[in-house]
């Protein structure tokens, strides 16, 4: 089956990004497809490459980046939610006149249409949030 995943809360503060990660991994292990993960609300904060968690904690962004690379998952960060919260890729940073960007590898910034499209094309959709 095709399973779509939504992550609605930021890393470390809420468990949502962790649970979604373990769910995605288990789904892939069982042979399901996870074509896309959509990051919305504070979920966009998962996509910063500037996170430096303590050595003895999991690195949520790196876990997602690795999982997506190994399984060809399209990780989409909502542009409107990301702009409010200061998550920018290089293009957006340039366009907005900002001197830095912080989007991590494996994530791309796009619109909410990608969320609806995921709902249309996936057999099931699961939301993880607060």
């Amino acid at each position: 089956m095709k399973l779509g995943i939504v992550v609605s809360e930021g890393p470390y503060t809420h468990q949502a990004a962790d649970t979604a990660y373990h769910f995605a991994k288990a789904a892939l292990d069982k042979g399901h497809e996870v074509p896309r993960v959509f990051f919305y609300h504070d979920g966009v904060n998962v996509a910063t490459r500037l996170s430096v968690p303590p050595q003895d904690e999991r690195h949520i962004q790196k876990n997602w980046t690795a999982l997506a690379a190994a399984n060809d998952i399209d990780m989409v960060v909502c542009i409107a939610a990301a702009q409010r919260r200061g998550i920018l890729d290089e293009n957006e940073a340039k366009r907005q006149g900002k001197d830095a960007s912080n989007l991590a590898e494996g994530f791309r910034i796009s619109g909410l249409g990608q969320l609806i499209e995921m709902g249309i094309e996936c057999d099931r959709m699961v939301m993880f949030g607060d």
């Binding site: 089956m1 399973l3 468990q15 649970t19 769910f23 789904a27 949030g129 607060d130």
Partner: protein
């Protein structure tokens, strides 16, 4: 056509589980995850509501979250069945849709 409901908040401080139970239909499933697993505690202020609902709704608890929170098996409502992340995936595919009570 039936629904898998997920509840991720403690039922003692938050109304999500109560609202979920009030909107469940016979044949639906309720999976308790994250802080939602506290809803599986027996002898609590809300355990009767869970037991009553479990007559025609299947209840599940995510075992990793139960273990993390140190909830002893002997204190859990026996009608709430344990699943792992793989069982979570199976439930999502077995029910027709998933509704998250965020």
């Amino acid at each position: 056509m039936s629904t898998l409901h997920t509840v991720n908040k403690s039922p003692f401080g938050d109304g999500a589980l109560s609202s979920c139970i009030a909107h469940c239909k016979a044949g639906d499933g309720v999976l308790l995850i994250e802080d939602g697993v506290y809803g599986a505690l027996a002898g609590s202020a809300i355990s009767e509501a869970v037991v009553a609902c479990s007559a025609d709704v299947a209840f599940y608890r995510l075992e990793g979250d139960v273990a993390a929170r140190g909830l002893p098996g002997a204190k859990l409502i026996r009608q709430v069945k344990p699943v792992g992340y793989d069982g979570f995936v199976d439930l999502v595919t077995e029910y027709d849709r998933t509704q998250s009570w965020l």
